[in-house]
């Protein structure tokens, strides 16, 4: 039942890359963006070589083909997260744009001054700033589910926040720093009982876990292709169709209309209503191929493999004197290990590891308030995906010992 990682690695040509002569890359930065398998790269190339045309309005063969590839990918994505229909999948550029779509369209139509939006202290900037902007523009109020010392959401405080009848609860399914997998179903159920609509930031969960939006009962669910073996430039917003139907359009222009008069327009039906202009067609095809790729392997197997690597990595990192890990234990988190090394700034850690081809990220990972909460400006972060191995964890650990030596 375990993954054949050796075989999987062959699908990712970049993993053979040397960053300097004789130094092969050890890619531990999939939380920022994943690498892309040949299957995805080739699907996009084939699209450009064989089928490229603008979609929807053409009747010629190429346009028909391009349209069905674009829409076919939408069907695959819908199935991948178990949406009840492909009409509920809106293509966007990424998670950030998906969240902004909700903030611009749904929130501007439904929130007024004084209305409460609940977020959490572990949000990525993409699920903070759109709401800050609405706070300035509309006078909405924001409150936050606290993060406990061990990196979990404080659900008792959440329950008391719900007494204030929020209109929206928006939270990340999985933290990109702590790795915490939040109890999404419970958070959503409680929000619904309090009468709130729920938006889930699925940027980290869709790539790594089995996500079923219907079982979760999420109202909106946002994610990016590039973190799940797909290309950059495309993401998706899932929304329950009655909500999407009732929302005003987001961007105006071609494709999103049913009819245009000189002084007025009628919006198109779902999902096209929210997709103005020529979209990222090749990227949609690549997104579909990424979903095919992950499905063929099996998300449960991928999650199990990542769990094994993460558990091993946390154990090994913990042994290193001066290393401090952030986030919950392995059984409550995905494949992320954020840490600090005493006396050495995370940038220096990352830079020195890079000399051995080890790619980790350093900084606040677009979660500045979370770092402030833990009283640190930055962390180093290693993250794991289906193609990572325990040997790569060993390289990381040896690399950290080298860093310590240089700064001793």
């Amino acid at each position: 039942m375990t993954l054949n990682v050796k075989q999987i690695r062959k699908d990712f040509p970049i993993l053979e890359r040397e960053t300097q002569p004789g130094v092969r890359v050890t890619y531990l930065d999939s939380t920022a963006t994943s690498q892309k398998p040949t299957q995805v790269i080739e699907a996009m190339n084939d699209y450009y070589r064989r089928s490229n045309a603008n979609i929807h309005r053409g009747v010629h063969t190429l346009a028909e083909e391009a349209t069905s590839m674009y829409e076919g990918a939408r069907e695959k994505i819908a199935k991948f997260i178990n949406a009840s229909s492909a009409r509920e999948i809106i293509y966007t550029r990424n998670t950030t744009e998906s969240i902004n779509l909700v903030a611009y369209s749904w929130a501007r139509a439904n929130l007024k001054a004084g209305d409460l939006v609940i977020l959490t202290e572990m949000e990525h900037h993409s699920n903070l700033v759109p709401w800050h902007m609405l706070q300035t523009e509309r006078g909405i109020e924001l409150d936050f589910i606290p993060v406990t010392e061990n990196g979990l959401l404080d659900l008792e405080t959440y329950k008391t926040l719900l007494d204030r009848r929020p209109k929206l609860v928006s939270f990340t399914h999985m933290s990109n720093v702590l790795g915490t997998v939040n109890p999404a179903a419970e958070i959503i159920r409680l929000a619904h009982e309090a009468g709130a609509i729920v938006l889930v930031d699925g940027a980290q969960s869709v790539p790594h876990l089995t996500v079923d939006v219907q079982a979760l009962d999420a109202d909106f669910y946002a994610f990016s292709a590039h973190k799940m073996c797909g290309p950059t430039g495309i993401g998706a917003l899932y929304g329950k169709s009655p909500l999407l139907e009732a929302m005003p359009p987001f961007l105006g222009g071609g494709d999103m209309i049913k009819e245009v008069k000189l002084r007025s327009f009628r919006a198109n039906t779902l999902p096209h209503k929210f997709e103005a202009g020529t979209p990222a067609i090749a990227e949609a095809v690549g997104f579909g191929a990424a979903v095919d790729y992950l499905s063929a392997i099996g998300m449960d197997k991928i999650a199990a493999h990542e769990h094994e690597i993460t558990e091993y990595a946390l154990d090994r990192l913990e042994e290193i004197p001066g290393v401090k890990l952030f986030g919950p234990p392995a059984d409550k988190k995905g494949g992320v290990a954020a840490f600090t090394l005493e006396g050495v700034h995370p940038h220096d850690v990352a830079q020195i590891l890079d000399r051995d081809g080890i790619a980790v990220r350093a900084g606040h990972h677009c979660a500045q308030p979370l770092h402030e909460k833990f009283g640190i400006p930055a962390t180093s972060r290693a993250s794991f995906y289906l193609y990572n191995t325990k040997e790569e964890v060993d390289l990381l650990v040896n690399g950290i010992y080298k860093v310590k030596e240089m700064f001793s």
Binding site: G343, V344, H345, P346, H347, D348, Q351, I352, R355, A362, G363, H364, Q368, H371, P377, A378, K402, M406, F407
Partner: protein, 131 residues
């Protein structure tokens, strides 16, 4: 091991000579590197003829940003502000004696940006100050 972590850089990072705050001071300014949250404050004392008589930096960041701040403070003491205004990217790279990629260059130049924003009395340390 490599140039980037030359001994002098590690030494200035671990044992800076110009770390601290000046009270009173004539010029004080602080800003962040938005990429990584590194923070630098610079305090200066300037005499009547416009010459820097004292300079200290404070804050946190990587070895490159802290070492370059320390070296920069050392280099401006005794210099007229008019000369400080002329410092640019190359002056800092010369002090460090290394070459840097685009990301780490931001770390190295943070202290100069903060210094020049303070000297010019600007509200923000922008990239255009060091180009």
């Amino acid at each position: 091991m490599d140039d980037l972590y030359r001994e002098v850089i590690i030494e200035h990072y671990k044992n800076p000579s110009y770390r601290g705050k000046l009270d009173p001071h004539d010029i004080s300014f602080a800003d962040n590197n938005p990429l990584c949250g590194d923070h630098i404050q610079i305090d200066l004392r300037v005499d009547d003829s416009g010459v820097v008589t004292d300079a200290l930096f404070d804050g946190h960041g990587c070895a490159i940003s802290q070492a370059s701040a320390d070296l920069l403070m050392e280099s401006i003491i005794g210099k007229p502000l008019e000369e400080v205004k002329k410092l640019n990217k190359d002056s800092v790279l010369e002090l460090l004696g290394i070459e840097l990629g685009p990301v780490r260059l931001k770390c190295a130049l943070l202290s100069l940006k903060v210094l020049k924003a303070g000297v010019y009395g600007l509200g923000e340390a922008s990239d255009s100050l060091v180009e």
